[in-house]
Amino acid sequence: MFQEIPRVDVKAKLTGRAKYADDLQFPNMIYAAMVRSTIAHGDVLSIDATKALSQDDVLGILTWKDIPGLSNKGKERPVLVESRVRFIGDGIAMVVAKSQKAAREAAKLVEIRYQPLAAVFDVKESMKKTAGWIHGRSNVETIISMQHGHVEDGFEEADVIYEESVSTQRVQHAAIEPESAVAVYQEDHMEVYCPPKSPFNVRRVVAETLDVSVNKVRLISAVVGGSFGGKDYDMSLLASRVALVAKRYQKPCKMTYTREESIMEGTKRHPYQIDYKIGAKKDGTLTGLSVQMVSDAGAYLSKSAMVAWRSCVESGGPYRIPHVKTDISVVYTNQIYSDSLRGFGSPQVDFGLEVVMDGLAERLQMDPLALRLKNALQDGDVHATGQVLSGVSIEKCLLALKDKSDYEQTRKRIASFNRDHASGPYRLGFGIAALHRGEALGAGGEGIDTAGVYVHIEKDGSVIIYSGLSEVGQGCQTMMVRIVSEILGIHSSRIRVTTLDTDYVPDSGPTVASRGTVIAGNATVLAAEELKTKITEVLSQKKWFKKNAELVFQNETITLRHNPEVSVSYQDAIKMVFSQGENLYGHGWWSAPKLVWDWKKGQGDAYFNYVYGACGCEVKVNIETGKTDIVRFVAVHDVGTALNIEEVYGQICGGVAMGIGYGLTEEVQLREGKIINDNFDTYLMPTAMDIGEIEPVILQEHSAIGPLGAKGLGEPVTSIVAPAITNAISDALQSRIVDLPADLERVLAHVKKGDAR
């Protein structure tokens, strides 16, 4: 176990000194506000800004005609639409004013006339030939498949077949900081300050919009007030918008969305409809699985296909199933578009399959944990992708869950409570769910799974880390400090991580897919190792240094492994290096191992590694109201090596809290394409009073590939929370919940007639 490192950004954030984009002020700054589509599908006929332009302090209005570069990017959402609007919220124009208030008020006065087109809001409707086309000549963007064995054979071998249809809802990131960006016009380049999840994509889109090369755009990250997968393409659009204004007026320009705007424009998690058919032998051995999914992409493409690919690859769960057939259709509708949201296609299939596993267990009259253990993947097993697995820890996770949740006792206690309180309003229930999840981007990532990190040792021995990966609150800066301090054997207080600035760090891809620790962590290892080599080279010229001697970097000293008497302090070693005229720049560039996916066959090496976890949840359901309370949530995760144990607890507890929202209360509600719950008074996330007791259980099965043996964690922690909850509710009610969220209405509808008396 490592020594604890305080989170590097904690002080600034807790004291309120951290500077978020909206905190930034520049002289002569002007402000922009959006004019957005109020219809779900149609063409803009005219824009009348007369009233808006006559207001005090209003400087002008910009439309797509003011875009020097690319305005239309095919199926990607445009910075400003040319004429076609595809959802309520599409950006049509920007009003620019001397104050934010003036810009916002004037934007409301712009009058748009439309030629409306038929809009489609339901995926199944949208798939029909009669639906109005949103892009091209079909609303089905793509169908992605995985085929392993022959699923019909699997069903023939089965003694029991279970079919179920499940659905998941549209939820949102709900980061506390709404999107904000500032562009500062400079003579030879554009400076952009914003909270980016994928800084280099933001830079590229700004450059494309302004029609300049990427080196003419410099993106400096402001402190990010939460991402959870958001602030991705949305931030590219916002940054491009302020950059357009800054260029046009040659002044700094800021735009900050209100909460309502953020909810209206911000991407969401894809809602899924999934039909399952699963077969098993009497003893529980799984024989075949068919998964047919439809994903609602909303009005634009974004990363929907990549998200769908992950869902497809992970659709068989952490189980050994000889025959699997999965198809997922990605379908457009005239609604807010979907994109990455903490899980990237995992939460939907994890919910679906884990609900189905419980349904199957019931059919088989088997214990749900026993069914999972029976089919749990082992080292050397063939995954549904055809890949032979190693480093599989699902069985260990399930056994740890059994132990920590006191599984059998808990089930007995609950059964007797329900028996003894049959006339009371409460029922207890216990539910479990199991997880496997591909690490990093995988074969669907197409060669972008790389990261670069620089580590510089200064003359006084202090260290600066430059990284291209965003700190979105997940603790990636602290992770890099940990790695450098471990490898160089120095105290963490010597190390600082700089603000991300695209002028100084290499493109390291997006902060997605729980890839930060593995990809950037490995790059950090390489950079630190390079420094170690440089120090070793200089020390090897010393008399005491025998040929091929090995040095140990520890406790701020460097010692000979075979003769610990001989040592030099880190500080002195640094001095020696610089006095020789050598440098101490370290550079690390790490690329994920090559992976190949055969799109035709639907098989391949999807991910270089999988992570595993298992969760158990006890609920108390009020059968008179439908209200569910989380009593206890046990979350077991194999994190490889816990680089910062407190961060791991934080990730798990935060992930569980977020998953509770997905399970019980959160849903972006749309009526005819319009979001009706557009603030946090009606979009309900769990509060501290709603999350019960969360018990993180950390397994550390060393990863062969991660830095210091670590594995990614950010997304796995939230992926199987909802199914553990709904399985617990189903257990309490003896009636299966197959749709999300399990809100008052849905739960009460599952209370059997007569039970609530």
Binding site: T625, L664, L684, A756
Partner: protein, 285 residues
């Protein structure tokens, strides 16, 4: 547009200040500021009168059996007041379920009544307690039953130039049960709430008061619907009868909306639960 903010430190200057037309009173602001945010700039109030420094409106006192609570008393104050906790703990209990600590620190009882949200948490209790409100204007005052004061969704009897100064009620002989159903355990607007008082002698019902909130524009008083019970024995049949009667009353007033699929069975269950718990409570000496 210039905004004028008038702070009064006593009731007299307050009554003068609000006599001027077009001025809007602000107590805790937890309803007002949210409502104002949604208004167009031209409709936003230009002049606000702040009540927060008027100490006279923050008192709680008991005289004989009559409890008087100032309109500027906050939920936090209600929850922690020794008099309330001793003599009418259900008020503290209900107040503790309002919003979040921040809302309870700012939100006031007067603000809640004047805002007249159908989902307000204290309103059913005021009806059950047959509470009255005192409305004062320059040189005048009047007293109304809360039942008469509340007219509908954000509609009350408050006239221009009037301020609510106090709420008063008699301490009932029996304890009162209160329940709230929300979508989460804090910062949740009631999907339904309700309260019940039941007095009994052995197995005979002596008095029942029952009010449910958030189902109709103003709290629904079901005392009359329970009257068939008085001096009669407690039966499950009658319990079911009252529960389905409550559902029918709501349907008469509000009709059958999309939310009815949940709301109607939940109303039946809530009424049954309130009566059952009050029955158990009513047996205690």
């Amino acid at each position: 547009m210039n905004q004028v903010w008038i702070q009064c430190e006593d009731k007299n200057s307050l009554l003068t200040a609000i006599a001027e037309p077009g001025r809007v009173m602000i107590a805790g602001g937890t309803d007002l500021l949210i409502n104002v945010r949604r208004l167009a700039p031209a409709d936003k109030p230009a002049q606000m009168v702040d009540l927060s420094l008027v100490e006279e409106l923050k008192n709680i006192h008991l005289e004989g059996n009559m409890l008087t609570i100032g309109s500027m008393v906050t939920y936090t104050q209600l929850m922690t007041d020794p008099l309330i906790r001793k003599h009418l703990p259900v008020l503290a209990e209900a107040a503790s379920q309002v919003g979040s600590p921040q809302i309870r620190n700012r939100g006031t009882l007067g603000g809640s009544l004047v805002n007249a949200s159908p989902a307000a948490d204290m309103a059913p209790l005021w009806i059950l307690l047959k509470a009255q409100v005192k409305l004062e204007s320059f040189g005048k005052e009047r007293i109304l039953l809360v039942e008469d004061f509340l007219l509908g969704h954000q509609k009350t009897m408050l006239a221009p130039g009037e301020v609510m100064t106090e709420i008063r009620c008699l301490i009932p002989k029996k304890s009162v049960i209160y329940q709230k159903i929300g979508r989460r355990n804090a910062a949740a607007i009631a999907r339904l709430n309700g309260c019940c008082l039941l007095d009994r002698q052995e197995d005979t019902v002596k008095e029942i008061r029952l009010v449910i909130g958030a189902a109709t524009p103003t709290p629904l008083d079901l005392q009359k619907d329970c009257s068939g019970w008085i001096d009669k024995p407690w039966t499950i049949e009658r319990l079911d009868e009252v529960a389905s009667q409550a559902m029918r009353r709501v349907e008469e007033i509000s009709g059958r909306r999309a939310s009815a699929t949940w709301k109607f069975p939940a109303i039946e269950n809530l009424v049954r639960r309130l009566l059952l718990d009050a029955w158990a409570e009513g047996g205690k000496q």
